[in-house]
Each structure stands twice: as structure tokens, then as C-alpha cells.
């Protein structure tokens, strides 16, 4: 059990009450330039939802082209203008712009900022028992850098030459040469500027998350008593802190190549009737730098969702999460390995094949901790008493996606098998399930679960469940058929396959995928309605709607800046004492000391009672009673 180092944190903190600001300040400081982590979290969430809508709509646009290649899309002219050709087709270059922006938006703006930004900000202080982040000001800056980055990216969509269109991986020379495609002009410049700002935002946030978790845990909240959400956010922030600067470097060198005539990535290029002077650079260098972020990035995207899911599955199975230490261990292991597998994206790029062997080995090792996590989720369900809240449904959906998307990684990580599958729809199916849909479901689960804490009201349960079933079935219908298309060798980022006899099939599956994509996007409007409706008219939330053990439910229904009125509660146990034998209720919140639960204590926990009493925290317990 996780309760050995009880009083290591005992006298580290001394919290004052002077920073309670209940409703002080004006509209601007409360809702716009707020330094309250909860407001900043909501800002990230709403901005993330805005971007998800744009990214999702883009995917439906290009799915129209792929599913209905003969359809007349003239009716989209009011929206897309010149990007619809006179024949009523999506312009081929704009198709690539859509694919590129869909990827960029979903990976960075939705699943990095929208997910980590929302839940790290919202949950870290609430679940570790802190008044706010270590630096509220930096936290605010983090959001506004993200906002600015978003504004620039948004503007780039409206350029007459189009936004960046070389794929979200922006491989040079395509992205470096405006003469190679029109999106590599101003659109690419804005992409790079926006991403540079995004990285600043991400680093400001990450430093804050790490500092806050290490330094600001409340009395008794030892590392071994942290909810798994916090562990996930902690490691996610560390990954981000170590890998984003490398993307920054890659982007900077690309900017030099684009505007200052350097040759980091360019060599021996003849384009548009002109031989460029650049020599000696290597496009492979960019790929190494990009994937040094790009691969850890997929863990930045999925780990917070796995953390959220751990918390939700335990709570709604009314069982402790199975193998708490193994869960932490596997996140740690994944974090370390995530830095040494990047080149599995590059097996057939001309990289030295010996490197390919090394990265195959390391890549397949990372499947082990991932498998452990799935087994632990399933075992947590075993002999539980499962309540299907919308959050729980989405969490189960996540585990299912993580499984079906994860196992195809075993094919792709094996360099010899990857030769055929690389850059086909098999890859598209793989990463959309394992990191796209899974993370997105984790994010939705988190919103459903913590909405009562965010807005003091409940979301509508039935709408949430309808939303789940449409999304769950929809996502599978979108991505499962892509495996077949991928095994058949269909390359990704193709505007149409009709030029090839080899790929002149599967019109039926592609149509199915497109229809499912449209329905899945449509189902998200149920969520949007539920979200905004419940924000104002939802049922008032009870203090602890899911009967959870975690610390955030000890705050008032609408916590002010500072979170707790009076002292921050002391923590006496881990957050997963659900259905403990002998206990009256099927949950024991973290704030209940062992001395109050003699009927359910395990032998070694009884020994801790003495420590509890000796501890000066005992005074806090007395305080609570009057």
C-alpha cells in the first residue's frame, strides 16, 4: 500500500488565508486576464473546443472529397470561395492544406493545449491541495501565448495562398521552398511563428505544472498518495519541457533556411527551372529533430488522458485502481522510452538501416508498459460495481481505442513490416485510434467528470450517454475500415486514387468512412449543446456527485480563487480507498484519518494512526470539527 512515507511532507508548507478572493476584482481580472488556475483551465478548454470544431470540420471537408469523389461541391463555395474549382471540386492544393491544418490543430491546439492546458491547470492545485499554481502570472501568460499563437494560425487559414500545406510534419524541402507549393509561402511563415509562440506557451505551462506538483502539495499529500491524474500530468509536463525546445530549434533552423539563405536542410535542389545554390544540408536532419519532439508529443497527448481515465475508472468501478505502483511505473517507463524511439517514423527515409534496428528494438519495448496499463484497467473493472456515468463510458471507450490502436503499433514498430505499411492508411488508422480518438475520449471523459467542479452544475446524463454511443460507434466506423485500406497499400495524403489501377477499389469503404465521419462530427454538437446549456441551466451539483475520494470534492460547490475556505485539508490516505472491506460507505475520502476508520484499516494502516496523532496535523483535524 501507498502510505509508508506519511509525514515526509508534514511541515513543508505553510499556507496563509490572505489570498482568498471571493468575487473581488472586476470582469477583466476575473474572467479575461485571470490568474486563477480554474479560470485559465476553462479558457484553455473553451479555446480547445473552438479549435476541435474547426479541426473536425476540416476533416469532414476532405472526407467529402475521399468518400464522394464525384460529388459536386459547388454548394461549399460560399464557405471556401476560390478553393472550390469551377468544376465543383476541392482544389488539390487546398486538400493538402486541409490535411495539414487538421493535423496541426488536432495534435497541438486541441490535444496538447486543450487537454493538458485544461486538466493540468484545473486539477493540479485542486487534487494536490494548493491554492493556485506556483506562478499564477506565468500561468496566465501561458494561456495568452497560446491564444496569440491561435490567432496567428487562424489568420493563416484565410490567406489567398493558403495555410501551410506540407503535412503537419512540415518536412523540408517542401515546407522550405515557396516555389514548391503555394502553402509554403506566407502560410508556412505564419505556421512557424504560431508554433514558436505555442512552444513558449507550452513551456510556461509545463514549468508551472512541475513546480507546483513538487512544491505545493498539502500536508500529508506524499508522492505515493497523488492521484494518477497528477502523476500523468507531471510526466507529461516533463516530456514537454524536454522535447518542445528541440522542435523550437528545428523550426528556427527552418526559418533560417527559408529566409536567410542557410542550408541546414537543403541540398542539390533543382526546382522551377532553377538550380538553388544550397548545398550540404540534409532533409533527414529535420526529420530527426522534428520526431525528437514529434514522438514524445504523442505521449504528451495520450498520458493526461490515461491519467484522467485511471481516476474515472477507479471511481466508477467503486474499486481501487489495480496496481497503482505499476501504473506509475509504466508512465515513468513510457516517459523515458518516449525519448528514444523517435526514428521509428523514419525507417524508410534513407536513414542508416542499422539505426532502424536499434529503434525497432526500443519501439517494441515500449509496448510492454502500454500493455500493462490496459491489463490494469481491465482488472480494475473486474468485480467492480460499475456505474456508467458518461465519463465512465468515455473512459471505457478510451481503453478500447487504446487497445485496438495500440496493437497495430506492433506492426509499424517492426521495421521490416513497416516497409509496406509506412505512409499508408494503416498508419492513419493506427494513430487516430491510439492517440487521436483515445486522447479525445479522455478529454471528453474529463469534461463530463469535472464539469460539476468547473461550473457547479451537472451536465445532462442522458445526452452525455447518447453522445457517447454515437461517438464510440462512429469513431470505430471511421477508423477500423482504414486498416483494410491500408493493408491494400493505399497511400495517405492522396487527393484521389483513381490514377492507379492498384488503388482503384474500396470506394464503398471510403464512402462508409466519410458518412461515419460526418455523423461523428454531428454527434459532437450534442455535447456542445449539453455543455453550454448545463453551464447555465444544469441541475445544481452536489458537493461530491461521483462519491469520489479525491481532494477537489472537498472544496465549496463554486470554489473561489484560493479553492478552500479556511485551511487546506490535510491528506491521510491514498485516493483509491473504494469499497474497503469493513467501511461504512464504499468510499473513504483522502481527508479521513485512519484513526477515524478503525473498522476498515489494514494492519499496517493501524500502525500509522500513532504517527497521525503525533503529527502536528492532528490539530487540523480538530479544527475541522467545529
Amino acid at each position: 500500500m501507498a502510505t509508508v512515507d506519511l509525514h515526509t511532507q508534514a511541515d513543508v508548507h505553510h499556507h496563509d488565508d490572505h489570498d482568498h478572493e471571493h468575487g473581488h476584482g472586476n470582469f477583466w481580472t476575473n474572467y479575461i486576464f485571470s490568474q486563477d488556475h480554474k479560470v485559465i483551465a476553462k479558457q484553455f478548454l473553451i479555446t480547445g473546443m473552438f479549435w476541435a470544431l474547426i479541426g473536425g470540420t476540416m476533416s469532414v471537408l476532405f472526407r467529402l472529397q475521399l468518400g464522394f469523389p464525384d460529388a459536386d461541391l459547388t454548394w461549399l463555395k460560399p464557405l471556401l470561395g476560390e478553393w472550390i474549382t469551377p468544376q465543383g471540386k476541392i482544389d488539390t492544393e487546398f486538400y493538402l492544406a486541409l490535411v495539414t491544418m487538421h493535423g496541426t490543430i488536432m495534435v497541438f491546439f486541441v490535444l496538447t493545449a486543450g487537454l493538458s492546458g485544461t486538466f493540468s491547470n484545473f486539477l493540479i492545485p485542486l487534487q494536490i491541495g494548493a491554492r493556485d499554481m506556483a506562478s499564477g502570472f506565468m500561468n496566465m501568460l501561458s494561456y495568452w501565448f497560446f491564444f496569440l499563437s491561435g490567432v496567428i494560425m487562424f489568420i493563416s487559414i484565410f490567406l489567398s495562398t493558403g495555410p501551410a500545406s506540407g503535412g503537419w510534419t512540415i518536412y523540408p524541402p517542401l515546407s522550405a521552398l515557396p516555389q514548391a507549393m503555394s502553402g509554403s509561402g506566407l502560410g508556412m511563415t505564419l505556421w512557424l511563428v504560431a508554433m514558436a509562440l505555442f512552444i513558449v506557451s507550452s513551456l510556461l505551462g509545463g514549468i508551472n505544472y512541475i513546480t507546483t506538483i513538487i512544491n505545493m502539495r498539502t500536508n500529508g499529500m506524499s508522492f505515493s498518495r497523488l492521484p494518477l491524474t497528477i502523476w500523468a500530468f507531471f510526466f507529461t509536463a516533463i516530456i514537454g519541457l524536454l522535447s518542445f525546445p528541440v522542435l523550437f530549434a528545428a523550426a528556427l533552423l527552418l526559418i533560417f533556411d527559408r529566409s536567410m539563405g542557410t542550408s541546414f536542410y537543403l541540398s542539390d535542389i533543382y526546382i522551377n527551372g532553377e538550380a538553388l545554390p544550397n548545398q550540404g544540408g540534409s532533409p533527414i536532419l529535420f526529420q530527426h529533430l522534428f520526431w525528437f519532439l514529434g514522438h514524445p508529443e504523442v505521449y504528451i497527448v495520450i498520458l493526461p488522458s490515461l491519467g484522467i481515465t485511471s481516476e474515472i475508472i477507479a471511481t466508477n468501478s467503486r474499486k481501487p485502481i489495480f496496481g497503482y505502483k505499476a501504473m506509475v511505473g509504466s508512465i515513468l517507463f513510457i516517459t523515458i522510452l518516449s525519448f528514444v524511439v523517435w526514428a521509428h517514423h523514419m525507417f524508410v527515409t534513407g536513414m542508416n538501416p542499422f539505426l532502424g534496428s536499434i529503434f525497432t528494438l526500443l519501439t517494441l519495448i515500449i509496448a510492454v508498459p502500454s500493455a500493462v496499463k490496459i491489463f490494469n484497467y481491465v482488472t480494475t473493472l473486474w468485480k467492480g460495481n460499475i456505474i456508467f456515468t458518461p465519463a465512465m463510458l468515455f473512459s471505457i471507450g478510451l481503453v478500447s481505442f487504446f487497445l485496438s490502436g495500440g496493437i497495430t503499433g506492433i506492426f509499424l514498430g517492426n521495421s521490416a513490416v513497416d516497409i509496406q505499411l509506412h505512409d499508408t492508411y494503416f498508419v492513419v488508422a493506427h494513430f487516430h485510434l491510439v492517440m487521436g480518438a483515445a486522447s479525445f475520449f479522455g478529454m471528453l471523459a474529463g469534461v463530463y467528470h469535472w464539469f460539476p467542479k468547473m461550473f457547479g452544475r451537472m451536465m445532462d446524463d442522458r445526452l452525455g450517454k447518447i453522445h457517447f454511443w454515437f461517438s464510440f460507434v462512429g469513431v470505430y466506423l471511421v477508423f477500423f475500415p482504414m486498416h483494410y485500406i491500408g493493408i491494400a497499400g493505399f497511400p495517405r495524403r492522396y487527393y484521389s486514387w483513381t490514377n492507379f489501377e492498384t488503388f482503384n477499389s474500396f470506394a464503398d469503404l471510403n464512402m462508409l468512412v466519410s458518412v461515419a465521419a460526418i455523423l461523428t462530427l454531428a454527434a459532437q454538437f450534442i455535447f456542445l449543446f449539453n455543455f453550454f446549456y448545463s453551464m447555465f441551466r444544469g441541475k445544481a451539483a452536489p458537493a461530491n456527485p461521483w462519491k469520489s475520494n479525491a481532494l477537489e470534492w472537498t472544496t465549496p460547490r463554486n470554489p473561489g480563487h484560493g479553492n478552500w475556505v479556511g485551511e487546506i485539508p490535510t491528506v491521510y490516505r491514498w485516493p483509491y480507498d473504494y469499497s474497503k472491506p469493513g467501511a461504512k460507505d464504499d468510499y473513504i475520502p483522502q481527508t479521513v484519518p485512519y484513526s477515524e476508520t478503525p473498522e476498515s484499516n489494514l494492519p499496517h494502516e493501524n500502525d500509522l494512526i500513532k504517527l497521525e496523532m503525533e503529527d502536528k496535523n492532528a490539530i487540523v483535524v480538530d479544527d475541522k470539527k467545529h
Binding site: I365, Y377, G384, I386, I407, A416, Q420
Partner: protein, 361 residues
């Protein structure tokens, strides 16, 4: 007018949906207290079971009945081996996927909420943890070692007598350059020499370039090792030969290689698939601009003797573009003319001046 009607219709439907939602809420409020906590919870347990049975059923049915539509016939030696590894991996993962899915959805059904039951407090088990860490580790290790052996074979250097073909990617077309039947060596190239006609950037001071010929189809001999030497002129491209399980990026500024042996001629494949119009094709699989999806290159696999015949019938690039003889150093012109097959008498003046030197070559 039409769009106005559609717009009004959409608004109406949304309004009706909203009213249903409101009425449902109010009814729920009236009835709610009677139904108790977690009413309707069971339904999701059932739905998960239905989903699992239907989902796995559809998966099995489609995979079995449509097998031939999504599996491309394989036509290379290493392709047969990587396909084998692919299917071994497939069976292992399908078993794991099936078992875990069934167990998980069964649990959601079996252990759905029951007010009279309590969950089992079961926080950990070292034995279980070790079992399911070690088993995947062993299975993965087996896959890794098999994969690495195959990978090392595929990426090992080509044999000395492998047939060399250069593939060049550019926006948005492929070209192939063959070393020619006389010297069997590709001539040097330099991107700065590229112009509208000399699209290879052929360096005509290198005598190996004289008999190089260009082809707009990729011809390959059946049963003989081929080494593709791949490069790109402008941006990244990627050579993808789906039936041969070959893929390798084309990178400006460097050569990439892929060696393989084609095992079935185009005619063999026509017989096998029963499609008299069957053709091998090559595609681009690295995003390269607006024409990315149109970079088709026809691939023909000939019987070895037909292949030799085809090669011998091709005109060297220099013969097609004799004006480039002026770029050949005067000392090498005669060799160039002989190698490329330009009739010497037509260039009598040139040959006269270089005759003595060419003998020493």
C-alpha cells in the same frame, strides 16, 4: 430560396429536438425520485455486449469474405518474408485483441452496478503484474528478433552483379535512368547541370554517362537482383512498389537504395490474378505538393531474356540529344559517339580531331 427552406427546416428540427429534451427533463424530474439511483445503468452493460458481438462479428466476417480485395498479391522474394511476419504478427495481435476485448466488455456487463453488491477491494497482485509484463515481453522479443533478421537481410548491401536502376522523383513525375548495355555503370550527375533537356543533370565529362538511357517505364528482370538507386530533384518523394513490398524515400542531395528480387513477371501476374490488363505500378508516398496523388509510374517485369532485349533496344540519352556532344570533352567525343551509337560519319569533323586520343582510351 431553396437554401432558405433548408435553413428553416434545420432550425425546426433543432427546435423539436430541444423541446423533446426539455420535456424529457421535466418528465424525468417528476418520475426521477421513484426510479432510484443509477436508473438505466444496466442498459449500457447490455449495449457493450451487443457492441462487442456485432463488432467482432463484422470484423471477422469482412476480414474473411473480402480477403482478396485487401491483400495485394506479393511479387518479390523479401516481400514474401515480410508478409509472413505481417501475418504472424496479425494472428498474435488478433488473439490478444479479441481476448482482451471480450474480457473487458464482459466485465462491464457482468459487474454493472447492483445496489446490493459491493465491489471487491483488490488493489494489486504482484503475481498478475509479473505475468502480464513478462508474457508480452517474451512475445514481443520473438517478433523483434524475427523482424530484425529480416530487416538486416533486406538492408544488406546488394550483390556486385545486381541490376542497377536509378529512379528520380520530381514534381510530379518519375523518370528512370539505366546504366546502358555497354558499361553497365551509371554516369556521374550534378544537379547544377540540369536544364530543360538534360533532366538528369548528366555530367558528360564522365564516360560512363554516354550510354545511359532514360525510360518512362520501370522495367525489371524477373528473378534477378535489382538495386534501385533513388534520388529527388526538388522535394522529398518516396518510391512505393506495392506488389514488391518496396518503399524508400527519394531525398534531394543524397542517394537512397533498395535492393530486391522480383519473382513474377507482369505476364505471370496477369495469369495469377486473371486480369489480362494487370499492370504493376509505382506510387509516391511522401507528400510532395499538389500533384502528389498523380505520380504514377508504370512498372514492367520481364522474363530475363526479354529484359535484355528491351534494354538493347533503348536509345542512349546522348543519341537522342546529340547536340550535347559539345559538352563532352573533345578527347572523349569518339568514345561517346561509339558508346551512344551516334553514327560517326555524321560527325566526321569531330571524330577526325579526336581519333588519335580515342585509341588510347
Amino acid at each position: 430560396m431553396m437554401s432558405l427552406i433548408i435553413g428553416l427546416g434545420v432550425v425546426l428540427v433543432l427546435f423539436i429536438l430541444y423541446m423533446i429534451f426539455r420535456i424529457g427533463n421535466l418528465v424525468g424530474l417528476v418520475k426521477g425520485s421513484k426510479e432510484g439511483e443509477h436508473a438505466g445503468n444496466d442498459m449500457h452493460g447490455y449495449l457493450f455486449m451487443v457492441f462487442m458481438v456485432l463488432g467482432l462479428g463484422l470484423f471477422g466476417w469482412y476480414s474473411y469474405t473480402h480477403f482478396d480485395s485487401y491483400v495485394l498479391p506479393v511479387a518479390s522474394e523479401h516481400g514474401a518474408i515480410t508478409d509472413g511476419l505481417f501475418w504472424v504478427t496479425m494472428w498474435i495481435t488478433i488473439i490478444a485483441f479479441g481476448l482482451i476485448s471480450i474480457v473487458m466488455f464482459w466485465f462491464t456487463y457482468k459487474y454493472r452496478y447492483n445496489a446490493n453488491r459491493r465491489a471487491t477491494f483488490y488493489p494489486d497482485s504482484h503475481k498478475l503484474e509479473i505475468i502480464w509484463t513478462v508474457i508480452p515481453a517474451i512475445v514481443l522479443a520473438l517478433l523483434i528478433f524475427r523482424g530484425l533478421r529480416v530487416w538486416n537481410d533486406i538492408t544488406s548491401p546488394a550483390s556486385e552483379d545486381a541490376e542497377i536502376v536509378e529512379l528520380i522523383g520530381q514534381q510530379f513525375a518519375w523518370t528512370a535512368r539505366y546504366p546502358g548495355v555497354k558499361d553497365k555503370q551509371l554516369g556521374e550527375v550534378n544537379y547544377k547541370l540540369i536544364d530543360a533537356v538534360n533532366e538528369f543533370g548528366l555530367d558528360l565529362t564522365d564516360k560512363n554517362s554516354f550510354d545511359d538511357f532514360k525510360s518512362l517505364e520501370l522495367h525489371l528482370p524477373k528473378g534477378k537482383e535489382v538495386l534501385l538507386k533513388i534520388r529527388a530533384k526538388d522535394v522529398l518523394h518516396s518510391v512505393f512498389l506495392p506488389h514488391f513490398r518496396v518503399k524508400m524515400d527519394a531525398v534531394p542531395g543524397m542517394y537512397t537504395n533498395f535492393k530486391f528480387v522480383a519473382t513474377k513477371s507482369t505476364q505471370d501476374m496477369r495469369n495469377e490474378t486473371g486480369n489480362p490488363d494487370f499492370n504493376y505500378e509505382m506510387a509516391c508516398t511522401e507528400i510532395c505538393g499538389k500533384g502528389h496523388f498523380s505520380m504514377r509510374f508504370l512498372v514492367v517485369v520481364d522474363e530475363p531474356e526479354d529484359y535484355e532485349k528491351w534494354k538493347a533496344a533503348q536509345e542512349p540519352w546522348l543519341k537522342q540529344n546529340p547536340e550535347y556532344l559539345t559538352k563532352v570533352p573533345s578527347a572523349l567525343r569518339e568514345v561517346a559517339m561509339i558508346k551512344s551509337g551516334i553514327p560517326v560519319e555524321s560527325e566526321a569533323g569531330v571524330s577526325a580531331t579526336t581519333q588519335t586520343v580515342s585509341i588510347s582510351n
